[in-house]
């Protein structure tokens, strides 16, 4: 007991953030993941400044040039620089995926808290509602939504948010249910705290770590979905640079210009791998079962 108290005290000197960061630093995959994610965010923000050429500028004299010193990733049919399109494409996928995941987290936490805290028939109703959404294979639901609303960034955000929110709702509900009968919650009730304050101050902070882990992993799924929709021709409108849309165009030139298919694909794998590595490491770092070890 004494040693445990000492340990807690030691941990108390650091904020949760720095404790988590220290744990991630010990995890090789986590460090790699963190760097990839940061790199991706930086490229998304500063992309247009970093790209060597205008990603949308056609130049038919330089059509389908293989990778060279001038064009590291080669050029496409319109003579556009592939490296510039890959760099600028990062912003497209980042803005869509972060917005979609943020909306999904918000709706998920809202529904999950109501479901878990109120319980009873409302819980049953919300859970069955989620079951129906989970009955659709993810990309199919996204295709259906884009088919109705039409392609375009905002509609892709909606499509991804719709199939992502059930997982957040379930995680939140599970956490709320597991802590709502704890003594400290009972105590808060006894001193007359409102339901809202009990939920937001005492219960929901417990859901924070599993939601963060899930959100990180969901970013990867979202990026894959954006590119998949793009590949099917249901993504952002041309000529805006987007990895999946560019890959769809590249497919017709697979034989003569394989570089068109290789580089945007590597960009997707690289970024999604980063989020998966980082998400896994976060999971290990935030997992309370490992905290005492």
């Amino acid at each position: 007991m004494a040693s445990k108290e000492k340990k807690e005290k030691n941990l108390g000197r650091y904020s949760t953030f720095s404790v988590v960061l220290r744990r991630i630093r010990k995890n090789k995959g986590g460090v790699i993941g963190l760097f990839i994610v940061l790199f991706y965010i930086i490229v998304s923000i500063f992309g247009p400044m970093l790209s060597p050429y205008d990603p949308n500028e056609s130049n038919f004299d330089e059509s389908l040039i293989p990778p060279s010193k001038q064009h590291w990733f080669g050029t496409d049919l319109h003579g556009r620089d592939v490296l510039s399109r890959v760099i600028v494409g990062a912003r497209t996928s980042f803005t869509i995926s972060i917005s979609a995941v943020a909306i999904a987290v918000f709706i998920g936490i809202l529904l999950g808290s109501i479901s878990g805290y109120v319980g009873g028939w409302i819980d049953e109703l919300i859970m069955r509602f989620l079951d129906i959404f989970m009955a659709f294979p993810e990309i199919l639901l996204a295709i259906a939504i884009v088919a109705i609303l039409g392609p375009g960034k905002i509609n892709i955000v909606i499509a991804i948010a719709v199939f992502s929110f059930p997982s957040f709702a379930r995680i939140t509900r599970a956490t709320v249910m597991s802590v709502k009968n704890n003594e400290y919650v009972e105590a808060a009730k006894a001193i007359g705290e409102s339901s809202w304050s009990i939920l937001t101050r005492y219960i929901l902070p417990n859901a924070l770590s599993p939601v963060i882990v899930q959100a990180t992993l969901r970013m990867g799924t979202a990026i894959l979905t954006i590119s998949s929709l793009g590949f099917l021709g249901l993504g952002v409108k041309a000529p805006e640079a987007e990895w999946g849309t560019d890959l769809a165009l590249a497919r017709s030139y697979l034989e003569f210009a394989p570089w068109l298919s290789i580089f945007p694909g590597i960009a997707i794998v690289f970024v999604v791998l980063g989020f998966n590595f980082f998400g896994d490491a976060l999971n290990d770092a935030l997992n309370p079962r490992l905290k005492d070890r």
């Binding site: 509602f129 129906i132 659709f136 294979p137 199919l140 088919a147 890959l247 394989p258 998966n276």
Partner: protein, 305 residues
């Protein structure tokens, strides 16, 4: 056990209605008049009115919903564009998608279990690291891009396999690999975790203590128990495969339900979209239910739940 099965099967009914209502409502979620949307641009007023009557769009919405459900079971629903019965069109394509999904499951389970067992037995060695690196890479690769790269290697450069179509055994190899490899990554990770868990149990130690050869302990004693959760994941992968099939079918020109739906999206054939998605989603639900039941058979502790 009996009550568990009945409960699980009864749950299918509300899910079917929920899913079918969502599919049915797709057409109504499009902003604007459905008859106008079906008629397309440049349609005259008479065209729109005749479509309203042919498709029963003038009737109350619940009547339309029941004739939609009836149309699915009687096979009377017709495609807006081709005028053919949708069930007739979807039949062979459904077989195509299921064939592709099964072939991919064979790829993902053999490769996934093999890698997972190797990684667990040689824990923390280079084999383990390599297998797990492959697993993370597989989970991060877009299915359609893997398809392009496999075409590039095996069809364009090596010229040993066809790049598309559906003629003979050779034509299914690349689509099955494309769809199966990412899913094998997930199977491998889970097999490893489950196998490590099993290998640390007392009965395995006892088996070693009896002097039973390592290979026999691993494959006969440990693997059997370790595979129980893996079976569930392989079943759940079916949903992933149905999702991925949409993309794989598009890359390889494989005639399946996924491509049928995507084509319908472009020709704005909403009835085909509705039916195609409903059938795929219900297949997914049925497989998940079957997996749940199978799991209960394999692991008696779960039957009460």
């Amino acid at each position: 056990m009996k009550s568990f099965i009945i409960k699980r099967l009864l749950l299918l009914i509300p899910i079917f209605f929920g899913v079918s209502i969502i599919c049915f409502l797709l057409l109504y979620m499009i902003p604007g008049d459905p008859a106008k949307i079906i008629a397309g641009e440049g349609a005259t007023k008479e065209d729109i009115e005749s479509i309203r009557i042919t498709f029963g769009l003038d009737k109350p919405i619940y009547v339309q919903y029941f004739s939609f459900i009836k149309g699915i079971f009687t096979g009377e629903l017709r495609s807006i564009r081709s005028g053919e019965a949708i069930m007739k069109e979807i039949g062979p394509r459904y077989v195509g998608t299921i064939q592709l999904a099964l072939a991919s499951i064979i790829v993902s389970s053999t490769l996934g279990i093999l890698l997972g067992v190797l990684a667990a037995v040689y824990k923390n060695s280079w084999i383990d690291n390599l297998a797990m690196a492959f697993a993370l890479l597989g989970a991060s690769t877009p299915v359609f891009w893997l398809g392009l790269i496999l075409i590039l290697i095996f069809a364009v450069y090596l010229k040993v396999l066809p790049s598309g179509g559906r003629e003979g055994f050779k034509s299914i190899i690349l689509p099955a690999l494309t769809l199966g490899l990412p899913s094998s990554a997930i199977v491998a990770r889970l097999t490893r975790a489950s196998m490590l868990d099993t290998l640390s149990q007392d009965y395995v130690r006892t088996a070693y203590a009896y002097g039973i050869p390592k290979r026999k302990v691993i494959f006969t004693y440990a693997l059997k128990n370790a595979l129980i959760p893996v079976v569930t994941v392989i079943g759940l992968q079916f949903g992933f495969l149905l999702s991925g099939a949409v993309l794989t079918e598009s890359v390889f020109g494989w005639p399946g339900v996924g491509r049928y739906i995507v084509d319908a999206v472009f020709s704005r054939d909403y009835v085909v979209i509705e039916v195609g998605i409903l059938i795929t989603a219900m297949t997914f639900v049925l497989v998940n239910t079957a997996v749940d039941l199978l799991y209960a058979v394999l692991d008696p502790r779960l039957r009460k739940g």
